[in-house]
Symmetry: C2
Subunit: 324 residues, 2 copies
């Protein structure tokens, strides 16, 4: 079954990295199609298709496009509220195709949140919108993966002080359980090993460098273990991502954005993939934004989108195997 | 001129990694001697010397030791307050030799802070003690280095909440200036390029994800630039340590312990070196603790101590060149 890619911000690098991903993958797959305006795709042959089921037949020769013409011209680097409805419609259509079993997974191109918000988009972000369209858990959970490491941040896009103040054993447990279930179902790991980070230097050193480990993180780890989940922690944040420690876990549960993102991007900037767990569909996306500063100039690196497409296909195959 | 290594915690891995470092370096150097109890050194030949000036002549054949017998037997993994005075005396003697120009630099073996504290040691740590013995700036500054990256944490061993609350433009500026001066004098960098981290996800995204960047970090960067220092920031913490970004800076100025230590240890656990800037002497140390759990069993990895010895020799040569 084909994967489906969304339009993303048309004035960003989405169209060109989609073309580059097709160029990289058109011989060996995985097969995908794009929902967007075919006129935006640079330099590669395009095949207009009427349904995702037609993608496989033409994928070796051209990028299959479910053509949805935009109502206004697109200037690279200059997002416009006029195209915001099409950006959202593309996401809705992709999710509907995946929910209907007509697409194996959704791979989203980056959006420009400020433009969507200005056009009346009521959600805090892309991920939350997807969760309203296809929920399967109380909240969506962001997992980032590169070949050496998987990380899940318990808190994400909020000021660090606020993120720390919001931490509770229940929040950590809830996020870790959703991560665990996703790792089992979609990553093909029968008993995922979770490594739960501490908050403070040296994980608080027994309370002398902070008490969040004792009061918040340790109870969450106990609760996870009581559920039969293989969870360890609180671990000292600086030593849990070393080359020796990485093979001992399947996923790090991190307490704040940069605790998760710093090690991942330090290891692998180009190939990181964002996976949303807690949805009824499979969704991956590249781990970067719209890159308005270089859009339309042929400079964009498609590595992360290519990795997102490959991982989406792998997760879809795992889920298929689980369910069959 | 010889380097001088301190005893460190005698019940930890110090004696065995010192022996391993001598084994690794005795042919090509750099030459060093150890202040400690010669009876603790396993498996390598030892030369009792009366003064550091004698180290070079015997270094190829044996580990030179300034023999200071301990008052009590040492059980690996079981630190005792009875040896605490000798641990401290060794540090004092090493610093005195360096201050007198009889040793090129001090390389400290790890100490067990709790044992020293129980024996009446009044300082918050090893580094602060060294600063009282050989101050050259208002405060000591910790720099960690591995081949790919140098980082300086502005706040170090304190709870994360407290570290955030303590950040001021003045503190960041003061630490960055000491780092800058040390990079110039000891690392041989005529115009060190400093990359200053933000605190919040995406460096606060213009204030929507936190205001510390606007209120605290940006003013510090401006003040540094007004001094003629090549400082950039506040930078998004997750993308400033990537493979593409690392070559664009000589040192990252980080706001808290793990923001500095996570990328460093993710890249290079074994070879990280701790350098103290703001001292009148050169001091390096391995970037790990006493490893009581494996002490005396021949399992310890001497890579970081070896890297610390090599870096100390390099810094001493640079400082010599600056001053001559």
């Amino acid at each position: 079954m084909t994967l489906v890619l969304t339009l993303g911000e048309p004035a960003g690098i989405g169209p060109e990295i989609t073309a580059a991903a097709w160029r990289a993958l058109h011989r060996q797959g995985p097969v995908f199609c794009w929902i967007g305006d075919a006129g935006l795709i640079p330099q590669v042959p395009v095949a207009h298709i009427a349904a995702p089921e037609e993608a496989a037949a033409c994928f070796a020769e051209a990028l299959p496009v479910l053509h949805r013409p935009l109502p206004a011209p697109v200037l690279p680097g200059r997002p416009s509220p006029a195209t915001a409805p099409a950006v959202l419609a593309s996401i809705e259509e992709a999710v509907a195709l995946a929910r209907a079993g007509r697409a194996a997974a959704v791979v989203t191109n980056p959006v420009q949140k400020a433009v969507l918000t200005a056009a009346g988009f009521p959600h805090p972000g892309h991920t939350e919108f997807l969760h309203t369209l296809a929920p399967a858990a109380p909240r969506p959970v962001m997992l980032l993966a590169c070949p050496e490491l998987r990380v899940v941040p318990v808190t994400v896009h909020e000021p660090l002080r606020q993120a720390i103040a919001r931490l509770t054993p229940e929040l950590i447990e809830e996020v870790a359980v959703i991560a665990h279930d996703g790792l089992r179902r979609d990553f093909g790991l029968p008993a995922p090993r979770l490594a739960v980070a501490g908050l403070n230097p040296h994980a608080g050193e027994g309370g002398s460098l902070g008490r969040e480990e004792i009061e918040i993180v340790a109870p969450a780890v106990e609760a996870l273990r009581a559920r039969g989940i293989d969870a360890r922690g609180p671990l000292p944040p600086d030593t849990m991502f070393t080359a020796l420690a990485r093979p001992r876990m399947d996923c790090a549960i991190c307490l704040y954005h940069d605790q998760a993102l710093i090690p991942l991007k330090t290891l692998d900037m180009a190939g990181g993939v964002n996976v949303t767990l807690g949805l009824s569909i499979i969704r991956t996306s590249p781990d970067h934004g719209t890159a308005l500063d270089i859009a339309g100039r042929g400079l964009a690196d498609a590595s992360s989108l290519i990795a997102a497409i490959r991982l989406a296909a792998e997760l879809a195959a795992n889920r298929e195997r689980q369910c069959s």
